[in-house]
Symmetry: C2
Subunit: 110 residues, 2 copies
C-alpha cells in the first residue's frame, strides 16, 4: 500500500484492532489456551505442542508479549511464559465493551 492509514483512526478503534490482531492467528490462540491450561511454560513446551518450528513459535510468543498479553521471564537458560492476568482482563474488558454494544435492527430492514 502507498501509505498505511492505520494512524488516522481513533485510539479506541486502534486498541481493539491491535488486540484482535494479536489473536488473529490459530497458533497464538493455541499458545494462549496452552498457557492457561499449564499456567506457565517455556518456549520448547510450545514447540512440542504445536506443528511449528522453534523460531516460528518464538516469533508468535514475541507478538503476544509485545501486545502485553503474556509475560516472559528469564529463568536460567529458559524463558518462562505466563498469561499477564492484569493485561488479559483489560483486553477482555476492551473487547467485550466493543462486542456488547446494543445492536438494533433497522426499522425497514434492507
Amino acid at each position: 500500500m502507498a501509505i498505511t492509514k492505520y494512524d488516522e483512526f481513533n485510539i479506541k478503534e486502534k486498541k481493539i484492532a491491535q488486540l484482535c490482531k494479536a489473536l488473529a492467528h490459530p497458533a497464538r490462540i493455541a499458545i494462549i489456551n496452552f498457557l492457561i491450561k499449564k499456567k506457565e511454560c517455556i518456549c520448547s513446551d510450545v514447540v512440542n505442542e504445536l506443528p511449528l518450528s522453534q523460531s516460528t513459535v518464538s516469533q508468535h510468543l514475541k507478538e503476544l508479549k509485545n501486545v502485553g498479553l503474556i509475560t516472559g521471564d528469564i529463568d536460567g537458560p529458559r524463558v518462562c511464559y505466563c498469561i499477564d492476568l492484569k493485561k488479559w482482563r483489560e483486553a477482555k474488558k476492551i473487547i467485550n465493551l466493543f462486542l456488547s454494544q446494543d445492536v438494533t435492527q433497522a426499522n425497514k430492514p434492507c
Copy 2:
C-alpha cells in the same frame, strides 16, 4: 512462507482466529461502530466517514461480509449494509468463551 500451517490447528482455534482477524483493522472496527450507530448504511456513507477510498472501503466491507458479521442487500443501485445480528451474537459468544476462561497464576510465579 513455505507453507501455511493454518490448517493444522483445530476448528475452534481457527474460528476464533478468523473472527479476530476480521476485527484486526481499525477501519473495520470503525465500520462496525458506524453500522451499529446508524443501524444501516450504504458503502458511500462509510466512504464519507472514513479516510479511505471507495475501493478500499468496499474491500473492508467485503471482508466483514465474508466472515458473516454484516449483510449487504442490493437496494437499487446501492447496497445496504447491516450488522448480521445472529452472526454478531454468535461471534460475541465464541470470543467471549475464549476470553472468559479461568486464568490462574502459577504457584511459583516465574
